[in-house]
């Protein structure tokens, strides 16, 4: 009995360490590879030149600008809608059929593959609404994609605001709306910010949904009605059209850096949220 226990233990323990090592090795491989091969590609011209192959300009500036542009417009659309939806679900909705339906559809949206979003964006925004390949089409498509994340995270954040604050405010004669905007929302800010940061990460990495909606023009989009290539799309095109491995490494490196920054930011915010829940210090 003892011998059988011991060998079981040993085997499982070995597997645990081996598999964990596999994960760690994977992680190091991916990040290390991109960093080692990508960092040398970073130069001032790479980061600030425009992209015009005929003029021998291979900069990623237009793609970076377009990415920022896309992020801003997407957030502008999805964040207010998401926050208001979360407010409704937490503060107003009575548990029952309606809420279940809303939750089901929100979870459904979260599961739809990005290529299907791309198809939808193509038929609906680009064709049907005649918005053509544009930042706006891309932003509208991505807004629907990130909506579930914003709603879910904001909801959780709203729920952490202690009920006592709400009661205190109402007992003083404040209306429900005033209580929401003056007491509840300000205290849910870090959670909402976390949702925003998460969404930014999603937007930056998105390719399939943008391929057919915001287009592949490697120039800075002059308005939201223009097409504009983003960083991730640029990487994809560089690779699949076999243009330049070096540029691809450089682009991948920049993307990785962006992801790391976003990751650290959201970890920092999560830490602040946790501290607030435990300590309760105002600011």
């Amino acid at each position: 009995m003892n011998r059988k226990n011991k060998s079981y233990d040993l085997i499982m323990k070995a597997l645990i360490w081996i598999f964990s090592a596999v994960t760690l090795v994977f992680f190091l491989l991916v990040t290390g590879f991109i960093i080692i091969k990508g960092a040398p590609q970073i130069s001032w011209s790479f980061l600030t030149d425009i992209y015009k192959v005929t003029a021998d300009k291979h900069g990623i500036l237009p793609m970076m600008v377009n990415t920022v542009y896309l992020i801003l417009i997407t957030l502008l659309i999805s964040v207010p809608v998401g926050i208001f939806a979360a407010i409704y679900l937490v503060e107003y909705a009575k548990p029952g059929k309606i809420v279940s339906v809303i939750r089901f559809t929100t979870e459904t949206l979260a599961g739809i593959p990005s290529i299907v979003y791309g198809l939808f964006g193509l038929i609906f925004f680009v064709s049907f609404l005649k918005l053509d390949w544009s930042i706006l089409s891309g932003a509208l498509t991505l807004s629907i994609m990130v909506l579930p994340v914003i709603i879910r995270t904001t909801e959780e954040s709203l729920k952490t605001v202690p009920r006592e604050y709400k009661e205190g405010s109402l007992a003083l004669g404040a209306t429900r709306l005033r209580t929401i905007f003056k007491i509840i929302l300000p205290n849910a800010i870090s959670g909402i910010l976390a949702a925003v940061i998460l969404s930014i990460g999603r937007i930056v990495g998105e390719t399939a949904a943008l391929l057919f909606t915001s287009g592949i023009v490697p120039k800075i989009a002059q308005s939201i009605f223009n097409s504009g290539r983003t960083m991730s799309l640029h990487l994809y095109l560089l690779v699949t059209e076999g243009i330049s491995t070096d540029e691809a490494y450089g682009t991948a490196f920049v993307l990785l850096v962006i992801v790391i920054v976003i990751n650290r930011l959201s970890a920092y915010l999560a830490g602040r949220l946790r501290k607030r829940l435990q300590g309760g210090s105002a600011e």
Partner: protein, 301 residues
């Protein structure tokens, strides 16, 4: 004390504003319902006619995908199988690795190791799929080609490797949360009966966390099936029935992404119809997920 008049004072402007804003909240909440309705409608509207024209049976079970040829076929079975094989492979590799890593991080690892690995996993979760695909193309594909002496490294095997890597963060984080939610009483009871820590983990805690872990697996399946960019770069993308682990193959998602750019007419409809198939599959997956979470009170994300 004219309380009567004061108590009955109503501000019309406030009332109107309140009405508008509170209804705005409700409208925003229904946006997701509206979105799902519109998406479902348009996807089916664009895809069903094509599917019917091709013939549903011929579409789903046909093995000949050659839409550019004059009387070519529109059978997507090769792609359906491609997606299934790739996903299955990713699960076979990714779930054990992920689960055991989760055990390590939640039960075994010393604090310093957790502090390094946790952020690493979160970072892995955030890396865009194009970057994974690029990595796959530059590292995994040449490696597979060399190691297995193949004419071309792009294969089902390479895709499975990359996909398992990509679903690791999902499986790990959800498993960790599920394992940590197991009531301490179960653990203590097992240990008190003389079981070792390892035995307790695998014979008590993991079974107790079963539904949470399962929902993580389902989410991993969803992610693998829906993955497009990364797979395209390492799969080879030949539209023929996958013949083996090292054959070039194509997924449903890859099919859409590759050909949409130049497709027209029935070809285009067929690609939308592929989208319908994907959509239906994901809906089914979602319902399975809901059934599991309802039964086991599992943890999401």
């Amino acid at each position: 004390m004219s309380n009567a008049s004061e108590l009955k004072k109503f501000n019309k402007k406030t009332r109107i504003m309140t009405f508008l804003v509170e209804n705005l909240f409700m409208v925003c909440a229904f946006v997701s319902v509206l979105a799902v309705a519109i998406i479902t409608f348009f996807i089916f509207y664009s895809g069903l006619p094509g599917m019917i024209e091709i013939g549903i049976f011929d579409f789903i079970f046909g093995t000949d995908w050659s839409p550019v040829y004059a009387d070519g076929g529109f059978g997507i079975l090769p792609m359906i199988l491609g997606s299934i094989y790739a996903t299955a492979g990713a699960i076979i590799i990714g779930v054990p690795v992920g689960l055991f890593t989760a055990v390590m991080l939640s039960r075994i690892a010393p604090k310093w190791l957790s502090r390094i690995m946790r952020p690493a996993i979160e970072l892995l979760a955030g890396i865009p799929s194009v970057v994974y695909g690029f990595f796959g193309l530059m590292v995994i594909v040449p490696f597979v080609q060399k190691f297995f002496s193949l004419p071309m490294g792009q294969s089902l095997f390479s895709a499975i490797l990359i996909l398992s890597l990509m679903i690791l963060p999902t499986v790990i984080t959800i498993s960790i949360t599920s394992i940590n939610s197991v009531p301490r009483e179960y653990t203590e009871a097992s240990l008190a009966l003389g079981a070792t820590k390892i035995e307790t983990i695998f014979k008590v805690e993991i079974p107790a966390a079963k539904s949470g872990i399962l929902s993580g697996v389902i989410l991993g399946i969803g992610r693998a099936i829906g993955e497009t960019m990364a797979v395209i770069m390492v799969a080879g993308n030949s539209p023929y029935m996958p013949t083996g682990l090292f054959s070039s193959f194509r997924t449903l998602t890859g099919n859409i992404a590759i050909e949409m750019g130049y497709a027209s007419g029935l070809h285009r409809s067929a690609l939308f119809a592929t989208g319908v198939i994907l959509f239906v599959f994901i809906m089914i997956l979602n319902l399975v997920l809901m059934a599991i979470t309802r039964k086991g009170g599992a943890v999401r994300e």
